[in-house]
Symmetry: C2
Amino acid sequence: MALNNYASGEWMPGISVDCVIFGFHENQLKVLTLRFKQTDIWSLPGGFVGVHEDLDAAAKRVLLERTGLSDIYLEQFHTFGCLTRIQEAKKQHKEVGDKMGRSQDDFDWISGRFITTGYFALVDFEKVNVNVGNLSDAYAWKDIQEVGELFLDHAEILQFALEQLRLSLDMKLVAFNLLTDTFTMSEVQSVYETILGKSLVRTNFQRKMLSLDILERIEKKYSGGAHKAPYLYRLIKK
Amino acid sequence: MALNNYASGEWMPGISVDCVIFGFHENQLKVLTLRFKQTDIWSLPGGFVGVHEDLDAAAKRVLLERTGLSDIYLEQFHTFGCLTRIQEAKKQHKEVGDKMGRSQDDFDWISGRFITTGYFALVDFEKVNVNVGNLSDAYAWKDIQEVGELFLDHAEILQFALEQLRLSLDMKLVAFNLLTDTFTMSEVQSVYETILGKSLVRTNFQRKMLSLDILERIEKKYSGGAHKAPYLYRLIKK
C-alpha cells in the first residue's frame, strides 16, 4: 500500500510550499527543521497544495500541522523555480523514500520537477508544540548560524527568508511576533541583534523604538527588592 | 490543427507567469496591456513555464518576446494561488479560445487550476518595441489610474505590483530604471510622484535625492540662451 498516494490526483503536480519557521529562544534566532525518518537528511517543514486548496491555505495547514499554531505571522516571500533545485532531488527522494517504503508511483510523482513557494512564519517559541508528522522522526530548533546542510535547496530558501525578515524588520516591525505579549526593551534589542547578526547601541536602539509610538510601558507591580527590575512593554493595539 | 498545443507536455501544467511592465511617459506611469484577438478582453503579458525552463527564465522570455528588451529591471514580487482567481477562467478562456479556434485539449489544459507568479519590470519607454504575439491583436500603454477591467485576476496582480514598486522606491532606488540614461531632477520627481500618486515638495525631494550620493551632475554644454536650462544628472555606476 502506498504511504501517501501523492499521485492520486488529490494534489497539484509540480507545486509545493516550504515554511521557514523562526523562533526566538535564549537570545538566539532559531529555525525549525525536521529529520526524515531513519536518515540524516534535515529539511524545512513543507507540503503540497490540494487541488481544491488555496496556495496560502496550504502554507497555513503545514504550519498548523507542525506547530499546532494557527494565528501567527506568515508572509509569502519568494517562489523558487530553478531547474537546478531539483538536480539532486531524485537521489535524496530515493534515500528518503526507501526508508519509508514509498511506492514507485509516489516516487515518480515526488521526484519530478517542482517549483516551491516559500513562506516565513514568526512564532512565539514557548507556544509551539512540534508534531513531526509521518515523514520525520525528529525535529530541531537550529541556530540560524549552525543549520548545516538541508534537503534540496532548503538552505538557500532559509537564506532568502532571512534577508526578507531583515528587510521587514523596519518596514513592517515584525520582530514583536517573536516575543511574548509583554517584554523588556532588552529582549526587543536581542531579537533585533540576532536577526541582524550584529550588536546595536542600547541608547540609540531604545530611542528609536520609543520614537515609533508603538510601545506601551506597563506599570511595574510592586515586588520587594525589584526596584531595579526593567520596565515591561507591550505593543499598542492598532 | 491546434493553435498552441499546450497539452503536448512541453509546458508545466498549472503554473504560469504574468508580467507587469511599467513605463514612464509624459509624466505618467503606464502599464503595458494586450488585447486578446477579436475580443474586448485586456490582459497583462504572460506565459507558461517550459518543463526545461527556469521560472525566472520564463518571465524574461515573455518580456523579451513582448518588448524586444532583455537587459531590464525585473523583480519577482508574489505568487497568486487562490482558487477564486480561476472562478471566471473557464468563461473567459472560452471567449478567447473560440475566436482563435483553440482545440478542446488546449481549452481543457488552459482552463484548469493555475497558480501564477507575478514579476514587474521597469523599462525605458522609448526603447520598447511591442510585439503583441499570436494571441493578441492590439496593445496599449494604459495610465495606471485608468486600466479598467483585466483578464482573470490581472487587475489585482497589477495593484500588488504597484504596492511592491512603491516599497522598492526607497529601499532599492529602482525608479531610475524608468528614465533614460540622463535626466533632470524634475523628471526624477515626476517619476516618484506618478508612482506614489501624490505631489512632493521640490526642495525636500531634491535635498533627499542629492543626499543619497547616487547622482552625478553632468557638465552643461554651452548652448546659446540655455543658461536657464536645468542640470542633467546620471546615476553613478556602482
